[in-house]
Symmetry: C5
Subunit: 90 residues, 5 copies
């Protein structure tokens, strides 16, 4: 699961019909790569929140419908994330 | 789903038969990586438009035929994309 | 399988229900890319340990439930890793 | 689908049995990343030609056998590729 | 399929049970990215050899058991790899 921040919304009137009704949000990976992409939200995430994002067939599972045309889904809102720098080394 | 721009067309006479009839377009990721690749269009996208692109088994779902040899599909035309820079940081 | 180090914990109260009960850990790839992401632990890994991480549908297999919304799983704790620099060349 | 150029051949006597009989070619992505990898050819591509390459479960579909151990396949030979630079912007 | 070199071994006593009995080797991509990761060997590869590596669901197919927790597999030992630099251009 990728650690991302919700940074925006996206609207698409013309879309494959299985996407109807999905809340599509723009997310940015909080990672060196800083990839920006779109994920369907199933947990009610808001702008600025850090979230867990899954992709591929797992995203379809999370959306509860295997025939959906969405391949990324927000599956959790991060309350806290703790990284132990002492016990870890590069 | 990747945020891409449609930048061109591609023609391939000699191809795996399940690709027959698909409209294949060249898309460029609107992202630091700027990956350029080919996706099958199911929503009638035109050159210059920003689109949502899915890949892998989800693309086959979007194309409505699980045995297709296409692994990328354009599934939505972006009307507007709003990124809130104030509420987001990094 | 990616070679990662466990670097932290992540908490998410609001999450897709299939994630309930999973121990979610932050892992960092021990690789030039140094990707940091979240994986569900099935082997009792601790902070600082080097682990093997799988992703996608294989992670769902490792978690023993195909409908889970987790797409990364820690499947082994590395005892030792031996790289033979003499027999290998760049 | 990735836009690649066929750049060579690869031979492997000792291989997983489902790969027997496949024509394995070395392809290079025509992209900033310039990834070089191996794909099984199903369309009779030759050295120097630009081709469409699919990966993952879609490659297995293209090869017509779901139990194959190949995860990349050449599925089309590109006749022409037209990128409209005027209508597109970075 | 990725072109890799076998560079080492990895041992993990504590691991998800489906991994028992698999020979796990460290491989390095012979590519600009030089990714280093772990793959299960099904063809008897040795340190220093160049090999073909598959990933994801295809790796599970190669290992002959769909429920395995391994997502990378060595499926061929490369005898020779011939790249035609004259007929190809960057």
């Amino acid at each position: 699961m990728n650690i991302c921040q919700v940074v925006g919304h996206v609207w698409a009137t013309k879309k494959e019909e299985s996407l109807a009704g999905l809340k599509l949000m723009v997310v940015k990976e909080l990672d060196a790569r800083e990839r920006t992409f779109v994920a369907a939200d199933v947990v009610g995430a808001g702008i600025g929140e850090r979230v867990l994002v899954v992709s591929g067939s797992t995203a379809r599972r999370a959306l509860g419908r295997d025939n959906t045309s969405a391949d990324c889904a927000i599956v959790g809102i991060i309350d806290s994330l703790e990284v132990d720098r002492e016990k870890t080394q590069q």
